[in-house]
Symmetry: C2
Subunit: 288 residues, 2 copies
Amino acid sequence: MIQHLAILGLGLIGGSFARALRASGAVGTITGFDTDPQQTTTALRLGVIDRAADSASAAVAEAQVVVIAVPVLHTADALRACRDALLPDVVVTDVGSTKGSVLADIRRDFGELPPWFVPGHPIAGTEKSGVANAVVDLFRNRRVILTPHAHQDPAACATVTALWRSVGARVVEMAAARHDAIFAATSHFPHLLAFAFVDMLARRDDADDVFPNAGGGFRDFTRIASSSPAMWHDIVRANAGPVRDLLAQQIEELQGLLALMDAGDWPALQVVFERARAARERHLSQIE
Amino acid sequence: MIQHLAILGLGLIGGSFARALRASGAVGTITGFDTDPQQTTTALRLGVIDRAADSASAAVAEAQVVVIAVPVLHTADALRACRDALLPDVVVTDVGSTKGSVLADIRRDFGELPPWFVPGHPIAGTEKSGVANAVVDLFRNRRVILTPHAHQDPAACATVTALWRSVGARVVEMAAARHDAIFAATSHFPHLLAFAFVDMLARRDDADDVFPNAGGGFRDFTRIASSSPAMWHDIVRANAGPVRDLLAQQIEELQGLLALMDAGDWPALQVVFERARAARERHLSQIE
């Protein structure tokens, strides 16, 4: 059991992990800190954390494990802010949606990646944000990707793995670059595409006439466009290379479909639809 | 009460309408016909219809109301197939997702639009197809768009309106061209975009590695890509003008985002995300 755990960043993910860890009994005391005092106060009031700290350093002072759950471009900042207060045998992990940028930022600050830093990414969340939306079972039966690095202490990795397993998650390891390529495709770029589509409709003169006629398909297709713009700005920026490549590729794909439509080649268009449906159905059991 | 109603096309929509009408008591006997004998047999076995006909003409012979629920490019074909067997005071309606093409096809066959034909489109459905997936409450609290035409008999329109209301739907009238522009934006183009996105991923060498790492956002975003390719081929083809314009516009929008990324103009990208989220949230109460 971890006697004392600190969470820096009390949003949906940090708050839900705190709730889940308390429910699992895997952790004694949880201290929380958020740069927004309102979130820290709410977390304490809702019983998500045991103690509220008024700085990152104060939060980590007694912690065996520190979880950084801040927007991905600020992960290294949060680590830098508490660096001098960390216990000598601490384990630090994060929950950021991109891994290459986090590792590059930390390497820049520390010269080399610290053995006690374990890069992590839980594949869970909703379009909602903030600690008030934190739920105890957010990670149950979900994947958590860890991307151990060359200087990794295996014991630190084992500690983080055990914590995630205690809240019902499945832990998978892969290289950071692989992680970033995969999640650009399954998550980062789809968010960009959904935002771009809804923005296109929103800028129509008849937008007020269009949206009320949307059905269930539209609702689901655009759900991720209700996600936090600031958070997704960070993620797209942090994983700009792979997202940019997918964007360029999607433009090409759509230009191909436009050419098919202009040529009246409807059978070829149907082949695209069939290929897409077959791929989704083939993998459906894995994604639902 | 309608003594006798015929449904041509026993798929998800035709089957669900039959189930709902029987449950509402608004209709006496329902006769069904599908060009796929398997669907007709299943519909009879499941009690979705009272009688199975072996041709469109046989199905409509005693019907006061005929509902055509076939793929949209075949609506006029179905009407032509039973034309000579229709009762003199019949009311015919359809459920096609596009209206301009259906009206053009029928006008071509009849010289002018028959007063007894009421163009309709229920805004309901799932990614599933076939009569086996028909559910009794598919239309409850859903919109049904009717697009009355210049030669419309108001009494025919009133009959169709009453039927839809009896199954809990809200009936809205608008011009066919307006309907097609709106539903290109909220339904037809989003399906094309979802198919195109999933197809792009499916053609990757590492597709088997990508899909298993998808989360809930991906599942919802791509749900409509599990829809019937044949049906959506028909719809995109039938409403090709508005869908093509949206596709061209979406390509431009994405090219704009690519330029922002290449210029490193992250604040401008975030503005797009914010505008999209604000529009969706503003209209959320109307679409959920």
